[in-house]
């Protein structure tokens, strides 16, 4: 073991895949495109595994840093280089990103098999992995920002993959623009970091924060700016609106980018900069409240959605809210734990949903599915594992991680109890809407196209099975061991397993709530399918409010988008652009034209007029030179004075 881990290969391998497929993909045979696209993440995963093995077997000292010998920005006292940092946190994240990413690449072979733009799809997917691994490995905030923006770009490209569809193109733009708002927060946070700490390197910031005197004030402002960035990327209130629309992309993209990896970047960023948040209780409180509110809000909307992918999208927002709650109560390891298990079961949910959509010819409406459990057994059983995992049933992965977060919230005491209670209610709703989806898609009476689905290809079935296994076993490592492992990277304030008795009660409460949700879904959607419609009819206002997602898009449209468009069109467009700038340009041009119109009369082409002007000019020069003006002027003025009668 020479101790060198070739970390730089992890992002560069997918980047090479992106270049090959992006430039040559159209002219390459499909098998070769597939090989390149699959090998890139597989090789990156191999490098990550090698790093993990080095850590396991050789007790590699962490954090392990690889820095590019060539600097990036050297200006005055500012030195920013390309440095990749491997610590426990980034290792966990890399395993998830490259591992789940690889599985989704494999799945995509089957899913995208007969689509146009096959090579374009895979080149974008590889590009995403490149930027995501840069984001994860970055040793300073600026390099992280490169990855941060890059995954946004890849997300934009993949949401708008079916760009001939207007809704897809619009959804891509929406995601990009809403993320920009968050990115402004991230940028301002970085500027403030530079101004106050003089560095963007995470380890140096942490070292400087260790000195006493950093509490509240500017640290709070920086933390809140970073939080704004995180709410944009991780689809939290108030910037979550882009994620449901992002479902316009191909389903594997939703699984990889908009469920398992990219949207968790905000959680990762908070964990990465946790020292800042640790120094600002207020910012932590805001994180917790944002997370809890988002979790509840999105779960309520998910109750009545009929598009299978939208239900999953809102559930993703809701689960990300849990992770923010975990961060907000300083249980970063619990948040990362949930991030990992969520990556497993949510990727699985999306892939299984994709398998369903693929099998019944592109239908996404839950009401038109049904009875699929016999016809799509693999999809059904894997989906079942995922549903049980997200609902939080023992011993599925979601149980352990969700429980850890709720326990951490409860253990905080005081207002943490309220957060815990809201989290518990959210768990009930989660269980309810997931079983609703389960019943409607698989167990209700078959209808329409759903009666004759076609089979799931092997490339799609194998990733489903692997992810199902992970959704089942992923949590067995237990939060104690997990947080002990992460402690060097996320701080020692991990979830203490102090009160085993209390923890058992809370776990039982969580499972009871999940069971209750299942029971309710069973009552409504299995035993009496008509009951749902009757309930909707009984509470028309409430149902309308929910099915229109609380009219948030409309409210934003009226309060933000429309005024902004109005200002852009009338003030900036008409007054400033057309009036001020255009007017100035027209004025200058008008002066030139007018002067030219007069002066061009000199250019008569008449020889004698030229000569006359020449003679007049010469006479004028002579007059000027020869006449002693200094004496003539006073004399002539005196003369005029006298003539005037004085």
């Amino acid at each position: 073991m020479n101790g060198y881990l070739y970390l730089w290969l992890i992002p560069l391998l997918p980047f090479a895949g992106f270049l090959i497929n992006g430039i040559l993909g159209r002219s390459l045979p499909r098998a070769l495109v597939t090989t390149v696209a699959i090998l890139a993440p597989l090789a990156a995963f191999g490098v990550v595994l090698n790093a993990a093995w080095a850590l396991w077997s050789a007790h590699l000292p962490l954090p392990y840093v690889e820095t590019c010998p060539v600097g990036w920005i050297n200006a005055g006292t500012l030195h920013i280089g390309f440095s990749f940092v491997l610590d426990q946190l980034s290792l966990v994240m890399l395993l998830v990103v490259t591992g789940v990413g690889f599985l989704i690449h494999v799945y995509s072979i089957g899913y995208m098999g007969d689509e146009e733009g096959y090579s374009r799809y895979f080149s974008y997917l590889n590009l995403f992995l490149f930027f995501m691994t840069v984001l994860v490995l970055a040793g300073n905030a600026l390099l992280m920002f490169v990855g941060w923006e890059g995954v946004g770009l890849a997300s934009y490209l993949l949401i708008g993959f079916y760009f001939h569809k207007n809704s897809a193109a619009d959804a891509g733009k929406k995601a990009f623009i809403v993320n920009r708002i968050g990115d402004v927060g991230f940028l301002i946070g970085m500027f403030l970091l530079l101004a106050n700490f003089g560095t963007l390197t995470f380890s140096e910031i942490a070292a400087k924060l260790a000195y006493p005197g950093w509490q509240g004030g500017v640290v709070t402002v920086i933390a809140l700016c970073l939080l704004l960035g995180a709410t944009g990327k991780s689809a939290q209130l108030p910037l979550y609106i882009w994620l449901p629309d992002a479902m316009e992309g191909p389903t594997p993209v939703s699984a990889l980018i908009h469920a398992a990896t990219m949207v968790t970047a905000g959680v990762y960023m908070i964990a990465r900069t946790h020292v800042l948040f640790d120094h600002s209780p207020f910012a932590l409180g805001v994180v917790a409240i944002v997370g809890t509110a988002t979790a509840l809000f999105a779960a309520v909307i998910a109750l009545v959605q009929n598009d299978i992918k939208r239900v999953l999208a809102y559930s993703t927002i809701s689960q990300l809210g849990y992770m923010f709650l975990g961060c907000g109560v300083a249980a970063y390891s619990a948040a990362i734990f949930h991030l990992v298990t969520h990556a497993f079961f949510k990727a699985l949910l999306f892939l299984a949903a994709g398998a369903v959509i693929h099998a019944i010819g592109g239908e996404q409406d839950l009401r038109k599915m049904g009875g699929l459990w016999k016809k799509l057994p693999v999809t059904f059983w894997t989906m079942t594992a995922a549903v049980f995992a997200i609902a939080g049933f023992f011993p599925f992965a979601g149980f352990f991680s969700k429980d850890a977060i709720l326990y951490a919230a409860f253990a905080q005491g005081g207002s943490g109890r309220i957060l815990w209670f809201v989290g518990l209610v959210t768990a009930l709703l989660t269980s309810f809407y997931m079983f609703r989806l389960w019943y409607m898609a698989f167990l209700s009476k078959p209808s329409g196209k759903a009666a004759h689905p076609h089979a799931t290809p092997l490339t799609m079935a194998v990733p489903l099975l692997i992810l199902a296994l992970l959704s089942l076993c992923g949590g067995w490592i237990g939060i104690e061991r997990f947080s002990a492992f992460l402690a060097p990277a996320t701080g020692a304030r991990a979830v203490e397993a102090g009160n085993a008795h209390l923890e058992l009660i809370l776990s039982m409460a969580a499972v009871a709530v999940a069971l209750l949700g299942w029971l309710l879904a069973d009552l409504i959607y299995r035993q009496q399918p008509a009951r749902a419609e009757r309930m909707a009819a009984a509470l028309p206002g409430c149902y309308k409010l929910l099915s229109n997602k609380f009219y948030v898009d409309e409210i934003y449209g009226a309060t933000v988008v429309k005024p902004l468009l109005g200002v852009s069109k009338y003030l900036l467009g008409w007054v400033v652009d057309t009036g001020l700038l255009g007017g100035t340009a027209w004025l200058l041009a008008g002066i030139a034209t007018f002067a030219g119109a007069i002066l061009q009369r000199w250019q008569s082409g008449n020889l004698r007029s030229y000569a006359a002007w020449l003679a007049a000019g010469a006479a004028a020069v002579l007059l000027f030179v020869l006449v002693p003006w200094s004496t003539v002027w006073p004399a002539s003025l005196e003369f005029i004075w006298k003539v005037a009668g004085h």
Binding site: N606, R608, A612
Partner: protein
């Protein structure tokens, strides 16, 4: 002879004559319409200048002025050759020598 020049005819007379000749040249240039007359007016102006050169050269006993006159005469001869050639070419092309009609350089 030299005493006759320098003592009995004052320098201002020569200069006045030069100025009158130059002005005649300018006026001729401006009011005449025939290209050849215009051309002759230019020659007149050149020679008026030559006269003042010679006058000053004699007055100040500076031979440079005389040499300059030879240069002017040489340039004038060359100019006459080129100018007349242009005039012939113009006449062949336009069948007229009226300056007012030769205004192709107009914008």
């Amino acid at each position: 002879m030299s005493s006759l020049f320098s003592q009995e005819v004052p320098i201002s007379w020569y200069l006045l004559l030069s100025a009158v000749l130059f002005s005649l040249g300018v006026i001729g240039f401006l009011i005449k319409r025939n290209l050849i007359t215009v051309f002759m007016s230019i020659e007149l102006m050149l020679n008026a200048v030559n006269l003042s050169f010679v006058t000053f050269a004699h007055e100040w006993h500076a031979v440079k002025g005389q040499i300059f006159v030879f240069f002017v005469m040489m340039v004038a001869a060359a100019e006459a050759a080129v100018g007349l050639a242009i005039i012939i070419a113009v006449f062949r092309a336009r069948a007229t020598l009226a300056v007012d009609r030769i205004d192709l350089m107009k914008l």
